[in-house]
């Protein structure tokens, strides 16, 4: 099962928000719908650098996160809109309803956007987010993560997910990360990537994403 279930009782808020009646299966041809098209008039190149949105530099470990967006046929998805948001290096979101007792950073808003290029590539510059507590269960902490929202070729390729960091001990205890099978959740963890690491400037991570759609036949061996 590559996608998480709706009802996942260890994730407490799914208990009152997941649908409980059977879903109605919609054939792909019936479900598919073209979506909005985003261009560089709505997404500027500077929107992908979360470290340069204020007068000063944000506190934290500067990182470059990038990768490729592919369809299920392993073809690049060009022009895909990626929206990204995250907490700061202290584990606090710049959101009025985040009441975690950690400092806000006046130089960090934590949101960005970009479009994939002709080969499906994207890159963001940001700072590494931190873990933070949440009320799901006793001593619950979310592993550090970056939220991703993607628009591909149509409605079926719409995806909202989260990227995690390698080696995070909190992954083993997180009911959101643990909601899918092992192979699927492994792919939510970025890889440290020395090739994306800029000397004297920022560590690099690679996070590739596969959107639904395209020819899903297996690649030639």
């Amino acid at each position: 099962m590559s996608q998480p279930p709706y009802l996942h009782p260890p994730y407490v808020s799914s208990r009152t928000r997941a649908p409980l009646k059977p879903l109605v299966l919609l054939p792909r041809a019936e479900a598919n719908l073209k979506g909005p098209v985003f261009g560089h008039e709505s997404v500027r190149p500077s929107d992908s650098d979360l470290t340069k949105q204020h007068t000063g530099a944000p506190i934290g470990e500067r990182i470059a996160v990038g990768g490729r967006v592919l369809d299920e046929g392993c073809k690049p998805v060009r022009g895909a809109l990626i929206e990204l948001w995250q907490c700061n290096a202290a584990g606090r979101y710049a959101h009025e309803r985040d009441n975690h007792d950690a400092p806000l950073d006046p130089n960090f808003s934590g949101c960005g956007r970009t479009l994939t290029d002709a080969d499906g590539n994207y890159t963001f510059h940001t700072i590494k987010p931190a873990a933070y507590p949440w009320g799901n269960h006793e001593n619950a902490w979310r592993p550090a993560h970056i939220h991703y929202s993607l628009f591909g070729q149509g409605i079926l390729s719409r995806l909202v997910t989260q990227m995690y960091f390698p080696g995070d001990p909190l992954l083993a205890y997180d009911p959101i990360y643990q909601s899918t099978d092992e192979a699927s959740r492994d792919r939510l963890v970025a890889h440290f990537d020395l090739a994306r690491t800029t000397p004297e400037f920022a560590l690099g991570y690679r996070f590739d994403i596969v959107l639904r759609g395209g020819d899903a036949t297996p690649m030639e061996r």
Binding site: L84, D98, L188
Partner: protein
Amino acid sequence: MDATASQTVGPFFRIGLSWLNGTGTGSATVRGRVIDGLGQPVPDAVLEIWQPGGGFCRVPTDKDGAFCFATSRGTLTVLIFMRGLLRHLMTRIYFPGESDAALGLVPADRRHTLLAREIDGEFVWNVVLQGDDETVFFDF
């Protein structure tokens, strides 16, 4: 290769998603609320209205779980995101007199959950996440 796994949009999506919020365009106004399994309004949901032909509107719920948007008539597909949903939901809104193949797949006794009711010149359509009148959601 299988698609990347979905994860919840969480409670703080406004930071990243609100730049695209809109109120829609068209002569029909649709109002509703999102209600959870305890009968409580959901103040932290965001709906995406996908119209035939590429029309798109993103609208969050307010503190009362309410949303409102303008649209032209025609069957609407709605994606729903919120904390508590590990994957987004897909449903549809049908205006009076509309029907299609998808509606025909829905058990007759549940079709009413997809129909917008005309009240005082506007249309009312609610999202009920659980219970007797649970909205029909599509597996896609």
